[in-house]
Symmetry: C2
Subunit: 389 residues, 2 copies
C-alpha cells in the first residue's frame, strides 16, 4: 500500500477539542443531537429509505415537516427548500432569474462565491462600493443609482459579510427593492442560524442560509427561503419528471448533512434568541483585543461575532522568527486555541460565537503572553543574528 | 415545543443492522474507517482547517494526494475532481461543453437526473432506444445514426443503468466517439467503486462516479474524471479568483462526505478486485429467485449486482390483503431484511452487493416462506370476505 493510501487509513483531525475562534467553523459545530444523528444516518442515501420521489417531501425522517413548516416559519418566508450551501442557493436563484449577459447588483463586501456563481451563469456584476478603511460600511442607498443605471435582474446583499461582520441596513434595501420592483436576495450565510433574521420583515425576496456555516450542521448543506411568487421560477419542475425540481437536479442534500441540519434545528432555533448576548460578548472581546493594541476593522460598535482584527505587532514578530507567520499558529495551538489561519499574522479573522467568556478571556491572556514572550525573544534573536554575522 | 420540533430531537433510523438489499444503498454503506472519520470530521467545514483557497489542494487531510494522484489512477483518467454526486458532475460537463439549444445523445436507460441536468442547461436530448422487454439492452452501434443526424455536443452512456443493471458495450462506444470526435461521458454511478472501470481503457472523455451510491461514502459526494484536454473547459477558473473553479463554485464537498470518501477509498480500491465474485453471487441470487417463479429482467447472464425482478405472485397477494403492497415490506422488515421499496410488489429492484451468500440465502428462504404463508392466507381471506358479503 502506498504511503498516501496508508494516510487515508488514519484520518485524524488535529484541532479537536480546542477553543474554536475560527470564523468559518464556529457556527457549524454540531449539537449533541446532530452528532448522534450523524452516526445513525452516516451511510450514503440513508435519509432516502422512504422517499417517494421528492427529498423535501420525505415523511420519515421528517424532512417534509422540516422544509415545509419549520423552515418557512424560521426564515420568515413562504416557501423553503434545501441546497448544498449558500453559494449553490445563490447560483440557483441567479440561474433561474437571469440570462447570460444580464446584470445584477451586489455589495462590494460580497463573498467570492457570489462572483463565481454569477460567472457560472454569465452575468455582469456591478458592485456597490463600501466606505473606506477601517469600517468598510455599505450604505444601501447607494444601490439606487446602480439600479437606475443597470436595470438589474436581481440585487444581492451579504448580511453580514464574512470579511468584517458588517450588517448593512437590509430592511432599507427591502424598501428600495420594492420601490424599483427588483428581486432582492439576502445572503445570510453568517446570520441565518446565529441571529434572528426574518425575510418578510426585511422585505427580501430570497433568504440564503448555510448549514455548515451557521446552523450547526455538517457540510455541504444550506437552506433557501423565498416568496411564493418565485416558486414557479426557482423551483420549476422537469417537463419529463413532474416531481423533480430542475435547479435541485431532482434532489440536493441526499445524505447525512441534512440529518445534522434537522437534528440541530431545535437548538439553532433556540440559540438565535440569545443573539444580544452574543453581540455583547463580541463587543467585549473586541474591546479587550483593542486594549492589547490591536485594531478592530468593520463597523463600530460591532454587531456580529465575526471580527477582523489588525494585529501589526504579531506581523512584526513574524518577520523576525524562524517560523515566520506560523509562530502564532503554533503558539495558539500549544495553548489549545484554534482560529487564525496558519501563517497569517497581519490581520486576524476571528469569531467569538462558539467560545464562552472564560475561553475568550484565556485567548486574550494568551495573546498578551505571546506578545510579551516574543518582544524579548525578538530582541534576543536579533542579537544572535548580529553575533553570527 | 411543537410535536414536529420534538421529532427532530430524536431522529432514528428504522433500518439499522438489517440485511440490506436496497440498490440505492448497498454500495454506499460506510467502511469502518469512514465511520470513524465521520465522527472526527462531522462539524461543518472541518475538512478546511488548512485550506489555502482550493479544496482539491488541501494537504491535511490529504485531499490533494487523493484527488490528484489516487483518483486519476483509480479512474484511469488524467484529471480528477470532486463533485456533490453523479448528477452534479453530469450537469458540470453539460454546462461546460454545450449551450442552450444544443443537442446531446444519451441511452434510453439513463437515470432521470441525466434528463434533469440537460433541462437545467437547456439542451435537446435524443435517446438511443433499448431493446424490448425483458432485456432492455442498449446496442451502442445505435448511437451512430443519432450522432450523424443531430451533431451532438456530447454523448452519454449509463454504465450500468440503475433500472436493470445492464452493462452496454462502453468500449465500443469509445471507438465510435473517437471516430466521430464527440466527447463521451460515462455515467458510472453504479460501477465506479463496485467494479473495475478505467476511463482510458474504455476510451471515454469523462467518467462520473458517485460516492454515496458506490464508493462507501456518505452523501452527497461524487467524483469526476476527465482527459486533460477538457480541464480548461470544465475546470475553467474564475476571472476574478484565479484559484476557484467556476463549475465547482469555488469548492464542492466542503464537509464530511469527502472524508468518508477518502477514508473508504483503500477498501473501495481493494473491493473492485473481487468483482467477479460479486457477479457470480448476483447470478446465483438471480437464479434462485427465478426458481421461486420470479423473472429477472435485464441482461442474461447478468453482469451486475443490480437486479430487477418481476414478482407477480407478490403483486397478486397485495391485491387481497389489508396492508396492500406494504405487506411485503412488513414481512421482510420483521425478518430483518431491508430492500424493496415499501409498497412495491409487482417488480422489485434489488442489489446483492452488500449481503453475503448466507444472508442472500436467508432472503430467498424468506421470500419462499412469505409466498407460502400468503397463499393459504389469501384463500382464507377470500373466504372471509365472501362470508361477510
Amino acid at each position: 500500500m502506498s504511503k498516501l493510501l496508508q494516510k487515508l487509513t488514519r484520518l485524524h483531525k488535529s484541532h479537536k477539542d480546542l477553543i474554536n475562534i475560527m470564523p468559518l467553523q464556529t457556527g457549524g459545530i454540531l449539537s449533541d443531537a446532530a452528532r448522534e444523528a450523524l452516526i445513525e444516518f452516516g451511510d450514503g442515501y440513508s435519509v432516502c429509505d422512504f422517499c417517494l420521489g421528492s427529498l423535501c417531501n420525505i415523511a420519515n425522517p421528517p424532512v417534509r415537516g422540516f422544509v415545509h413548516e419549520l423552515l418557512p416559519e424560521f426564515l420568515g418566508c413562504e416557501v423553503a427548500t434545501l441546497t448544498y450551501g449558500a453559494r449553490d442557493a445563490m447560483f440557483m436563484v441567479m440561474h433561474s432569474l437571469a440570462e447570460p449577459g444580464d446584470s445584477i447588483i451586489v455589495d462590494a463586501n460580497r463573498h467570492y462565491t457570489t462572483i463565481v456563481a454569477a460567472e457560472r451563469v454569465g452575468l455582469n456584476v456591478f458592485e456597490v462600493p463600501h466606505s473606506d478603511y477601517p469600517e468598510f460600511r455599505i450604505d444601501v442607498n447607494d444601490y439606487v443609482p446602480f439600479i437606475e443605471k443597470h436595470n438589474p435582474k436581481l440585487i444581492l446583499l451579504t448580511y453580514p459579510d464574512g470579511n468584517h461582520g458588517n450588517l448593512a441596513d437590509a430592511t432599507r434595501l427591502g424598501e428600495i427593492a420594492q420601490e424599483y420592483d427588483v428581486p432582492y436576495v439576502l445572503n445570510g450565510a453568517y446570520s441565518v442560524g446565529r441571529m434572528p433574521v426574518k425575510m418578510n420583515d426585511i422585505g427580501a425576496d430570497f433568504l440564503v442560509g448555510s448549514g455548515h456555516k451557521s446552523m450547526a450542521s455538517a457540510g455541504p448543506c444550506g437552506v433557501l427561503g423565498m416568496k411564493r411568487k418565485w416558486e414557479g421560477a426557482v423551483l420549476r419542475k422537469s417537463k419529463i419528471y413532474s416531481n423533480k425540481e430542475i435547479e435541485l437536479l431532482g434532489c440536493t442534500v441526499r445524505g447525512v448533512p441534512l440529518i445534522t441540519l434537522m437534528a440541530s434545528f431545535p437548538c439553532v432555533k433556540e440559540r438565535v434568541n440569545y443573539w444580544d448576548k452574543q453581540v455583547a460578548k463580541a463587543q467585549w472581546f473586541s474591546g479587550e483585543l483593542e486594549k492589547l493594541g490591536f485594531k478592530q476593522l468593520g463597523e463600530k460598535p460591532h454587531r456580529h461575532d465575526l471580527l477582523h482584527i489588525e494585529t501589526p505587532m504579531f506581523y512584526d514578530i513574524s518577520k523576525h522568527v524562524r517560523e515566520r507567520g506560523y509562530f502564532l499558529y503554533e503558539e495558539l495551538k500549544h495553548r489549545g486555541i484554534w482560529g487564525p489561519q496558519p501563517g497569517i499574522t497581519k490581520a486576524l479573522k476571528l469569531s467569538s460565537f462558539a467560545a464562552d467568556e472564560e475561553q475568550l478571556a484565556f485567548v486574550i491572556d494568551s495573546f498578551k503572553t505571546i506578545l510579551s514572550k516574543y518582544s524579548s525573544y525578538k530582541v534576543a534573536q536579533r542579537w544572535g543574528k548580529e553575533q553570527a554575522a
